[in-house]
Amino acid sequence: MDLLNALVALTNFVIVPATAYGAQLALGALGVTLTVAVLRFTNVAHGDTMAFGTMVTILATWGLQSLGISAGPLPTALIALPVGIAVTAWLLLATDRMVYRFYRRNRASSAILLIVSIGVMFVMNGIVRLVIGVDEQRFDDGARFLVSARDFKEMTGLDEGLAIRSSQAITLVTALTVMVALFWFLNRTRSGKSMRAFADNRDLALLSGIDPDRVVRITWVLVAALATIAGTLYGLDKSFKPFTYFQLLLPIFAAAIVGGLGSPVGAIVGGFIIAFSEVGLTYAWKKVLGYTLPAGLAPDGLVQLLGTEYKNAVSFLILVLVLLIKPTGLFRGTST
């Protein structure tokens, strides 16, 4: 019984939140890794792209809510998501047209593009702050729990409760769908294949008649979709605050680098590695250990390895370890 309790506590406090968070990071890291693979630069503005996409989704959600449309038990934001993706895709395509295309045509180095993306980051951040402000926004509605702690306790008779918030379940389902769709697109469709060819060897792809502008446009649309979905899921799960989206940049990049920059599979694996380490290291293990260890050995303290304030330190430590031991990442990606 104690062992079961320990398992439930572990699932409740570590596995479920970390899985949801990992899926969000993985989606973010996929966006980053696509930019690196196809467009060949590190996009610092990715966090703010996520914030922008989420903001549009929130505005659309409010619009739908005021019209009285809702998705029943699901959050309204899911219906609003296509609007968010469309507007973000439009913004990224416009940005590419006005900013990035010039440098791409000049064959500017990835370093210059990184700096350009700093400028883009300022502009996007400014737009988000102008439109929705800097305050925290909550936009989740619909059913709050898929399984609530009390129901679970009554059902199983255990001391520990297991709560699965609907936002966590939605995150997982959406993320899985998106990932499957993305891999299907990259591996099975003509456009996806031309994207991968372009990423592998740009000159060869150009020689075989692939339209580079089309590949770039498709990539930006995919990046917009991934960023908006990742941002919205994160916002539903926690809350929307423009500044926290900037701070997601570090775990997202750490995930992409751990998996190998430019490798989509790596981005997903990296996202989950970062999320599980972050939650695992900042979780207070007292409860779980109390159940599993014999009575005399149960710890007095919280057995929290790191304070939650230091969760960004976890992504950084993993990043440093990977840079020291295997700089190409777990799955070898592309190099700029």
């Binding site: 630069f41 610092v44 990835s110 700096i115 350009v116 400028g119 300022f122 800097v134 950084f316 700089p327």
Partner: protein, 431 residues
Amino acid sequence: MTARTIAMFLLVLLLILLTGFLQSWNTALYILNMGLVSAIMALGLNAQWGFAGLFNVGVMGFVALGGLAAVLVSEPPVPEAWAAGGPRLLLALGTGLATIALVVAVHKRIGKRWLRIATTVILACLGFALYRMLFDPARDAIEAVDPATTGFLGGLGLPVLIAWPVGGLFAAGAAWIIGKTALGLRSDYLAIATLGISEIIISILRNEDWLARGVKNVVGIPRPVPYEIDLQQDPGFAGTAAGLGLDPVTASTLYVKLLYAGLFAIVLVALVVLSQLALNAPWGRMMRAIRDNETAAAAMGKDVTRRHLQVFILGSAVCGLAGAMMTTLDGQLTPGTYQPLRFTFLVWVMVIVGGSGNTLGGVLGGFLVFFLWVQVEPLGQALMQVLTLPLPDGALKGHLLESAAQMRLLTMGVVMLLVLRFAPRGLLPER
């Protein structure tokens, strides 16, 4: 120095003087002082990006370390806190450092892969457990000492000017660690690593109350210049002020700001002269050669990674120095106010706008961009007032007026993108 350089710096002077005549001399001197500090930060980043092509997206962290130095050097020590847990805390920190050293040493010695990994992990875990066992009670004891006013160990009680070079040393130490890991790999890895370390430094400053009171802030850091209140009570000063036609309160604030400006200007001029000398020396030619073609420079026998590490540490140290100066000017360390957009990316805008690779360009960018940073807000407000005049009073108008304060980020981004597109080498290009 070309005519263009002189004209540009005259423009800066004009802008500051205009601020003085049209707004207030206090604002003008504030812009001047922060412009000097910003120019030094831009100088540090320019050494890294402009002279060596290294990405440092962690300027904020180095600046904050400089600020920490100002607290640790100049604040008076808190004897009760030291008595409560000082030595224990030092012991804990020593244990932590010893563990890291031991792990690194063992990692280097053992040849077998699985044995190496196993011993490293076990040693690291044991060391961490021991560290926490020593550290936690010591920290709690220190933070329990009069938490409303102290609750930290305090500093050394030395003159604050000593903190400036110490701030540089702190930043150099952090830069060494980062440089050792991330240099020599893909160029954008350094960017992500610096981004990470700067976030961590800020987290530490916010949460480690025993160190510098965290978000409770350390205020009233000792000054290198006299206090306004003392000046106002000094009859000689009041007499001089009256002779100039100023009331003693205004005169004292202006006088203090001018003293700071003098101190900062000395540092800035010294750094500019030093970096010009270095750039014209064989060292500077070598750095440019490495930046322009790493492979060729390596083929000529230059140790590229080592030189990169060197200039990365030097640039970060300059940022740390600027951070200590800024905290001295503010008289307080407020970790809650360190934002990457303000302290990292704004410095990037300064370097890009001013002219990367040109020492004076970075300095110019520091002044101009900081001027813009301060003035965009009132200008944006005024613009929004005019634009929203035809609108009826209501939620939308209120929202628009409120959001005008956020205009500065948008402006900075647009300025940076325009400069990158139409004058990619900045206002003062590298010769």
